[in-house]
Every structure is written in structure tokens, then in C-alpha cells.
Amino acid sequence: MRISITARLALLAVLLSLVTSLALAGLIWQQTHDDAIEVLRRDTAQQTDAFAAVYRSGGIPALAQAIADAQADDDSLVAVLIDRNGARRLGVGPDRLAFAPSAETFRVATLGTAGEWAGQEAGVTIRPLGRDWLVSGRLLDDWERTQRNIERALLLAVLLSLVLGIGGGLVLARYVTRRLDRIAGAVDAVAAGDLARRVGTEAGGSDAFDRLSLRIDGMLDRIDRLMAELRIVTDSIAHDLRSPIARLRARAEAAATASHPQQREVALAGLIAETDLVMRMLAVLLEISRSEAVTRDMLVPLDPAALIEEIADLYAPVAEEAGLRFVVALPSEPGAQVRLHRELLSQALANLIDNALRHAAAGGEIALALERSADALRFSVADRGTGIPAADRAQALSRFGRLDRARSLPGAGLGLALVESVARLHGGRLELGDNAPGLVATIVVPF
């Protein structure tokens, strides 16, 4: 049988409070308990044996005499002969026994129902004598009474804690259930399509449930953002692929209808170039979506400076050909290796350098730099072009987010989005800043 988590929680609470109280009661009992009651039991048994022996040898008069003798020495003595109906025949004791007599080795009880016998407990042994019952023993003294009281209180405490445990368990279970239901409700709503639904916090974000809620909300935010991006991507793919594909079609038509072989050659070459552009857009798109799925265990320890040097080696001649100065700045001291994805990070840097090449003002410079701070690597590419106004930077990061000013320049418009997703893969971020003038794009990789 499966027990619901609520029931299990309640049960656990009950069990815990029971164990706690039993342990406590046990400890107290062990500390306070001594053998007083045990001694009383033994004395009582001996005394009863003695009276019974007297009765057997001398009958009722001898017993009455023995009890009277004994009472003279001990005013706490109880020794009474009770008839079948519970009424006193002789001896020291209540006129009527508070309970029906039965053969018992030892019991502690209030013997009488009225008078002084009702207020005091006594430890007695009850034994049949002929047709009557001999109830013989002693009133409890102060210490023995205290013992009895402590034991009774301990029992009461255990019972009370059981009740409280059940109550507490129910309250706890209800509370946990309520908090969990709130989270589950929000998750269900999102699963059902209400992507804007969030769990929210209840205790001001301070307790564990709220921390869990905040995490889940963070995850939902990311899902929401990804979904929004996906929508934008599908819209943008449709939109941005439309024009190259339209051009492709136009070129194909031109090639098909070209009468002159040379015209056809030109049209076909253009066709291939357009196809390459579309292919590249798709490849980068694929790379972006895959880089978001890459797990961090695909990162391997690398020397970041070597990575920078390699990419600089590839691009320095390109910048120089374009009439730009290409400056590389590395930390003066070699640092430890850092877990990086060489290909994706190189591609991201290549994209940034490519952007810089495209936007750098003629005769300017492109600066590629690696900085190492206490907890992060900063890969930056800076140019001296027109830069991106602060207001436009968010749009520049979104997929296909080509700024209108850049629409006329070639490029798939995916560059920065890829860079950002690569930065995210490394647990970092892409920062766009002002190089005054120009743009400085920095991939921050914490380690």
C-alpha cells in the first residue's frame, strides 16, 4: 500500500514526538526511581504470610490479637479481614473495600471509599483466608507517594506527547502539502500552457520552500524566454530566409532562361553563392541551438592564452589586409588552465572579430584581449567603429537581431546570438560596452 507523503510526514512527526517523550520519560524515571516500592512489596508479602500463619494456627481471635499488637508498633499498618461482600470483619482498614477482592500478590490502591481511607493509598497483598479475604499491607509513606506521582506524571506526559505529536504531525503535513500544492499548481499551469504563471514567494523568500519556488520561477523564466526566442526564431527564419531564397529563385530563373552561356555561368555562380549564404545561416542556427544543449562536461581544461593566440594567428593577416591594426593583449603571467570549449569559444571570438572587421572604421584598430581576474576570464574584442547605442544592445543580442543600420551589410545576423549562447554554455555572459568610440564586446567566463 502506498502511503501519501502527507500521511508519512504526519506519521513521522508522531513517531518522533513519541520517541522523544519516551526517551525523556525513561531518563527521568531512571534518575528518580529507586526500590522503595519493591521493598514495600516484599515487606507486605512477609507480613501477609505472617498473618496467614497466625490465622491458620489460632483462627480469628489469634489474628485479631496479632493485628492489634502489630498496630501498636506501626500506625501505617493495614491489616483487615474482609468478608465476601467486601465489608470489614476485623482489623485495621476501611469499613468497606473500594474494590472487589480477588487473590492478588501485590497492588497499590486506595482502599476505602470514605473517610481517611479514601485519601490515602496503600500497598497491600490480598489473600483468601477461609471464606474471607485478608488484606494486609501498609499505607504509603511520603517518599513512596512521590514515586507513584512521578510515575503517573511520566505516563501522562507520554500520552500527552502522543496526542500533541499527532496534532503537530497533522498541522505539519497540512502546511507542507499547502506549500507543495502551490508549487505544483504553478508548474501544472505552465505545463498546461500558461507560461506566464509563477510560483512566487510566501515567506519573503527566506525559507526553503521559497528558495525552491524562486529556483523554479527562474527555470520557468528561462523556459519562457527560450519559447519566446523560438517564436522569434521561427518568425525570423521565415522572414530572413525569404529574401535569400527569393534571390536564389530569381537567379535560378535567370540561369534557366539565359540565352548566352556566359550569362548562365554568372547566374549559376550567383546561385551557388546565395545557396552558401543560406547554408551558413542554417549552420550557425544549428550551432546555436546545439550549443545551448551542450553539457558542461564537454568542456576541457585549456590555456586561454593559447586559444587567443591561435585565433589571433588566423585573423591578424585579415585585419592587416583590411588596413586595420590588430592588437593582442594577454595577461603578463601565464595562468592556470580553465575548462573551455575550444571550438565554440573560438567560433564566438571569430564572430566578434568578424563583426569588428565589418564595422571598424578604416585605419582604426581591433584589439583582442584576455584579462584574468580573481574569479573570471574576460575575452574582449574592441573596435573603433560606430559602436552600438546602449538602447539597441539587447536587440543586437537576440537571434536574427540585426540592427536596421546594419541591414545593408552582409551577414546572417546570428553572430552575437551565437556568442551569447557560447558564453552561457560556459556559465558566463556576453557584455557589450562602449569603447568610446566603438564597441567592446566581452565574453565573461567565471571559473
Partner: protein, 230 residues
Amino acid sequence: MTRKILLVEDDAASSAYVAKGLQEAGFAVESCGDGRDGLFLASEGIFDLVIADRMLPGLDGLSMLGALRAANIRAPVLILSALGTVDDRVKGLHAGADDYLTKPFSFAELLARVEALLRRADGAGAEPQVTRLTVGDLEIDLLARSVARQGRAIPIGGREFNLLEFLARHAGQVVTRTMMLEKIWNYHFDPGSNVVDVHIGRLRRKLEEGFDTPILHTVRGAGYRLSLDG
């Protein structure tokens, strides 16, 4: 001797396209459409090269490759795949493929890689330690890392030397931009601009300035070729 190529590709259109192109380039091509048949045919050991799609019915390309290698068939294998991300390529190469080409590809790219693979397979074992490469009047000393043309020393160093060495090892063959990016710089992504062309341009100036005959040729739509005859 006509080289035999086994083409394992389930997409009929692209299989026909590749087979036709390879036949026109002078290869004997046998094709089949599923991995099990491919493995069966390749096990005969009569092929000089195997071109296999990564996703095949029956047995996928990488498993087929593993089975071939286990059966001690050493023919070079080129994997074709629509899975084009960097990690896919690296995985393919780690699985023992000799080369990896992403769909869609240009036929020129495929042909260049096929020829490079065949040349490498021939070279393996034949001349284990080459210390000099000669292409026409160009001499490359691999030990001293020095280059001379018509006896005149040309200062070429670093990455440029590696580039020249790679071209010279494939002298007379077309070498594509992506092949150079993969082999010289070890990058498996498309930088998207003319980076390789710039490096080639610099190398070409050094090799050809002051000499009458061109030696580093551009092959339109494909790549570059190092040889004296145009």
C-alpha cells in the same frame, strides 16, 4: 589503375549525384543503400575508399565503421552527415573516420577530400620519413623549415610554413578552404569570411613575386592547388 570507391548512402538522389560525379572524375563507384550491405561489401577488402552516410538504415555509419575496423579493413572512410555541429564532427573523427563532411557539401569539396584521402593512404608506409618536398622549382626542407624557389631562399615561417607544407603534400590536387582550416588551424567551424583566402594571398605573394610562373592556383568554386602547370 582505376580506384574503387564504395558509396553507402540511403538517399537515392544524393547517392546518384555523388556516384555520377566520382565516375566522371575517373573512379569506379559501387553504391548501396543500407549499412548492413555496406559492411558486407566493404568486408571484401577490394575498395580503396569508403564513403558512408552517418545515418543509414540497418546499421548506422559509425557502427559500420567500427565493424570494419574490427574486421581489420584499413581502407580510409569518409563520413557524410547532416549532423554538422562541431561536436558531431569531433565525435565522428574520434570514432575512427578519416574525414568527415557535412551535408550539404559541394562536390568539389568531396572530390578534394577523396583525393587527399587516397593520396594519404598511398603514402602511408611507402615513404615514412619525408624530409624534403619538391613541387616544380619549389623546394621545401621540412627539417630546416626553409623554402627556396629556383634556388632563391624565401622567408616563410610559422603557420604559413605549415600551410605551404600541407599544399605541397597535396601538390597537384585541389585543397579546399575547410580542409585547410581543419588541418592547419584545427578549427571545424566556418569562419564565414575570407580568412583562408587572405593567408593564401600572402603566401602566394611570397611564392610568386619576382618569378615568372605562377605556382599557387585558385580553383574556382573549390579551393587552391599548388603546382607549376596551370
